[in-house]
């Protein structure tokens, strides 16, 4: 009389092949995450053969430097999507945060305070979203859609022309290039503090999601919110928290982006929510929640960044196609996820 299903219940240490096989069949995000790594590598190979000068220090450095903010956004969305929600306001939060931040810097505020304020603004937006969703049962997409318009509107109220960060502002240091490897001519491996911050964010997110009770609650909420409640987990508090995290990380992304550009404008970040969602989805985060890896989202962000590089390098594809391509990729991945989850039902 066996109480388990087909899989034999053995207590021995599973070999690596078994482990991988088990991982793939059980978890809908594993395959897409692996797929995204494969895609990334494939794109590099293709780019190198088609255009050349891809696999070199400067390209890879720029990939990281130019997409540090997107990586942070992808991490933010991962938290929210795993719980089964969504955050459409990230781009607008960046717009508001950066414009407000630059204006504060120009008004003479201490740069550290400016950075804290920028993150704080983002957290505030997130808090409002979280409260609407948790206490008033507003659907996440509506609540964050409203925040999206609110953020952009407030940013436009503040200023409609580009605001320049002071030349000497220490904030710009965040994007100062640090040469790690001095290669031939301009082909150096460089990094910026912004990239390091992004890496720290990823590591912190990984730690929270995989090694803290709060992080496991995030996954549990995505798996079954009602079960999580009955299991006594702090569901409500955690739901608000993920939106605050998302907002705060958007504020941080604003810091990284503004430090690199040196200017802020109310039209910044339009469409970035799509990029962030696409990055998370490509990286294996399932849109309906419960499954997702932060590291996968990072790969997803890099895939998108690399796609931009290849498109520019190609020159044949008009830049306006990028949104269509991103949207198309997102759609394909979403459909794939749906097919997999439907089979499970």
């Amino acid at each position: 009389m066996s109480l388990t299903t087909e899989t034999p219940a053995v207590a021995e240490v599973p070999g690596p092949v078994d482990r991988i096989r088990r991982l793939i069949t059980a978890n809908p995000s594993v395959l897409p995450t692996i797929a995204s790594v494969v895609i990334f590598v494939g794109m590099i190979v293709y780019g190198e053969t088609a255009y050349g000068r891809i696999v070199q220090y400067s390209t890879l450095s720029n990939l990281l430097i130019n997409n540090a903010h997107l990586i942070v956004l992808a991490v933010a969305l991962t938290f929210v999507i795993v719980t089964g929600g969504i955050d459409l306001s990230v781009g607008s939060i960046i717009a508001f945060s950066s414009v407000a931040g630059v204006m504060l810097a120009n008004a003479g505020w201490h740069p550290l305070l400016v950075i804290v304020a920028m993150i704080g603004f983002g957290a505030l937006f997130g808090l409002v979203s979280g409260i609407l969703i948790r206490y008033f049962n507003v659907q996440p997409f509506i609540a964050t859609l409203a925040m999206m318009f609110l953020g952009r509107g407030l940013a436009s109220l503040l200023s409609t022309k580009p605001e320049r960060l002071p030349e000497e502002s220490p904030i710009r240091w965040i994007s100062d290039k640090i040469k790690i490897v001095d290669g031939p001519k301009v082909n150096d491996l460089t990094i910026t503090p912004a990239v390091m911050i992004a890496v720290l964010v990823v590591l912190a997110a990984f730690f929270v999601l995989h090694r803290t009770r709060t992080g496991r609650t995030v996954y549990a909420i995505g798996g079954s919110e009602s079960s999580a409640l009955l299991m006594g987990l702090p569901v409500h508090r955690t739901k608000v928290l993920v939106y605050v995290i998302s907002g705060a990380l958007s504020g941080l992304a604003a810091v990284l982006y503004t430090s690199r550009l040196g200017t802020a404008q109310n039209i910044t970040g339009i469409g970035w929510e799509l990029d962030a969602i696409a990055a998370a989805v490509i990286g294996g985060t399932v849109l309906t929640g419960a499954y997702g890896y932060v590291l996968g989202s990072v790969v997803g962000a890099l895939v998108l960044g690399l796609m931009n590089v290849l498109i520019t390098r190609d020159g044949g594809i008009p830049p306006e196609m990028t949104t269509i391509i991103t949207g198309g990729i997102l759609l394909v991945f979403v459909l794939l996820q749906r097919a997999v989850t439907r089979k499970k039902e």
Binding site: V138, L157, L335
Partner: protein, 358 residues
């Protein structure tokens, strides 16, 4: 006796979904009149007999908003959403302008009609794509339409090659700028379409069945309603109506602005629908309410400009209004108003089961 009947007549009026919308319009106009006592004046242009005035402008500006509001009403009634309407407006404008520019004939009504037809066909097809994703693939409506919302503008850019294409065609231009008996054509057209859709929706069983699946999809299924066709119809209509809105918007300046045409107008559409009394959770809808909502938004836009506030900030106000209305529609606030005390701590999932199986 007389007082009682008047109060009950008042109460019925207040309950009508668009009542508060009309109140808000009146309030906004009053605000404008404060600044300029002659604000409401309507005069007749001696040259062409057309009506001129701020109110006329509002009617003209409201026309495209009415179109997307009607489409959004139907989609929201099915408990869905269509975030792509703004982008579809841009697509429609892009198709029209490119077509007209390439054909070149600037006075043929046939060409104008062809441009209109082509634009509506394309946006209708895109609406159908949304419909398929929602009804057959089973994607959540916001994700299905979000993709088109963000990629749609890219499609428009590809159609025009990134340019803000301009074209000339008098009959096409007349749609947006012409006057008939002194009244703007675009408004008459919009009004006509609203009435036509309203007639189809209420005369046939379409409205009833859409409301049914929005209110209670399970019960509707048990009653034999098949939701897929209804969902497809709603999303296709939304796409076509967005196309009409795009034509109206682009026709007034005969140029499509790839970044600005229809930009953030999905917000206007959603706002008009909720002002009109419909719930974002789906169910009963009111086209007349959405109509008033669209008028209110046009009035709001014009007022904001008139009072000197930057127009790019209006989305902030609109967002706040939507949030407030969501709050008012939420269970918690409604219960608070009715003074109901709940003994239940757990989510409402439990209560439904409890009342059946206790």
């Amino acid at each position: 006796m007389n007082a009682a009947t008047t109060t009950s007549a008042w109460r019925d009026l207040i309950r009508k979904p668009f009542f508060w919308g009309i109140v808000a319009i009146v309030a906004l106009l009053a605000l404008n009149v404060l600044k300029d006592p002659g604000y409401l004046a309507i005069s007749i242009n001696p040259n062409n007999g057309n009506l001129v005035g701020n109110l006329i402008d509002i009617l003209r500006q409201a026309a495209p908003i009415m179109m997307i509001a009607i489409g959004m009403s139907l989609v929201i009634a099915t408990a869905g959403i269509d975030l792509s309407v703004g982008s579809l407006m841009a697509v429609s404008g892009a198709v029209s302008m490119e077509f007209l520019k390439n054909v070149g004939d600037s006075s043929s009504a046939g060409v104008a009609l062809a441009a209109v037809g082509l634009s509506l066909l394309i946006t209708g097809i895109l609406g159908a794509v949304n419909g398929v994703l929602v009804a057959y693939v089973g994607l959540q409506p916001f994700i299905a339409t979000l993709v088109l919302m963000l990629a749609g503008r890219g499609v428009a850019k590809v159609i025009t090659g990134g340019q803000n294409t301009a074209a000339t065609n008098d009959p096409y231009r007349w749609i947006a700028n012409g006057y008939v008996i002194g009244v703007p054509v675009v408004f008459i057209l919009a009004l006509g379409i609203v009435l036509a859709v309203g007639w189809v929706v209420r005369r046939s069983a379409l409205g009833l069945m859409i409301e049914a699946i929005g209110i209670n999809p399970k019960a509707s299924r048990m009653a034999g309603i098949k939701p897929r066709g209804l969902l497809m119809t709603a999303y296709i209509l939304s796409g076509v109506l967005a196309g009409v809105a795009g034509i109206m918007s682009v026709g007034s300046v005969m140029t499509v602005d790839i970044s600005r045409t229809g930009y953030q107008l999905e917000l206007d559409a959603i706002l008009a629908v909720v002002i009109g009394g419909a719930s974002l959770m789906g169910g009963k809808f009111s086209l007349s309410g959405a109509f008033v909502g669209a008028l209110l938004i046009a009035t709001l836009d014009k007022t904001v400009l008139y009072l000197g506030v930057s127009s790019s900030a209006t989305p902030a106000f609109k967002a706040i209004v939507i949030i407030l209305i969501c709050l008012l529609q939420s269970e918690r606030v409604r219960a608070w108003f009715q003074g109901r005390r709940k003994t239940i701590i757990a989510p409402r999932v439990e209560t439904a089961k409890e009342e059946v199986t206790a």
